[in-house]
Amino acid sequence: MTTTFERTTVEVRVASSEPPIVAPPKANGPAAAAILAAGIGCFALGLLVILSEAIPAIKTALVLSGPVGPLSGKTVAQVAIYLVAWAGLAYAWRGKTIPFDTVYVATLILIALGLVGTFPLVFEAFTRS
């Protein structure tokens, strides 16, 4: 009677032998600026949608392109507000450490308000014919 044994080789990698990564702490200001600016942009869109529905003159003014309609002005204005907010915040917070939790919560609130503003059942409540 013959018995066969299978041999298995296990390669063990020792993490400590790897060269470490030097990653010193960074000021969170520029990151906080990018995150909050995105929140401001989302909020601006929701606000523009509601204002466009509530005030016919604004809706007309937002028609930057006839074939695209008021969506052209809403999105161009939203992107402009976002970029200006990002540039301003990045300048104000360059090299600084900001309370990140506060910025993060504010961003989430702004995003939530933006989502509410872009929801049809909400903005149609403001529609004026």
């Binding site: 993490a15 990564i21 995105a38 989302c42 999105t75 872009t118 149609e124």
Partner: protein
Amino acid sequence: MALTDRELWTVIHGMVLGSLFLLAFAGGLAGLYSFRWNLVTPTGVRERLPRLEIGTSVMALAAWMTVITGTWIVNPWYRAALPTSPRSVLLADPARALWHTFGMEWKEHVAWMAPLLATAVAFVVIYYGPRLAQEPKVRRALMTLFVVAFMAAAIAGLFGAFINKVAPTI
């Protein structure tokens, strides 16, 4: 086998750019989730970081290109003041009007949140570099923004696919 210009742009907008963003989401989220000092070795960080930076940047670019092509190229055909345009066809039929008054109205607005949020994620990933693995709060915030961006894009993509099925842009 041929596509009209309008069909081609609809495909580029939804099936190429939009789908690229949606399909890459799971990989990006997994990358952010596992980019932790206690989970990856220094070699792992070096190997994963460029993929995360390039992946989130490409996703942000795809999100921008999706909304720009959708708003400025496809949308004018959709909403043309002609009885045969998809918008007119939907509004003429009370049984299908909700696809425009709810679906399209939501889609065309909410989609514009995705590129802003995806850009913030890509910027912060690049800004922190390997240090991101030691910033759990920031990483969790990025994952949340990433999920919201995905949800916005998914709502837009889903309604876009359905509306193009109900009233195709041809």
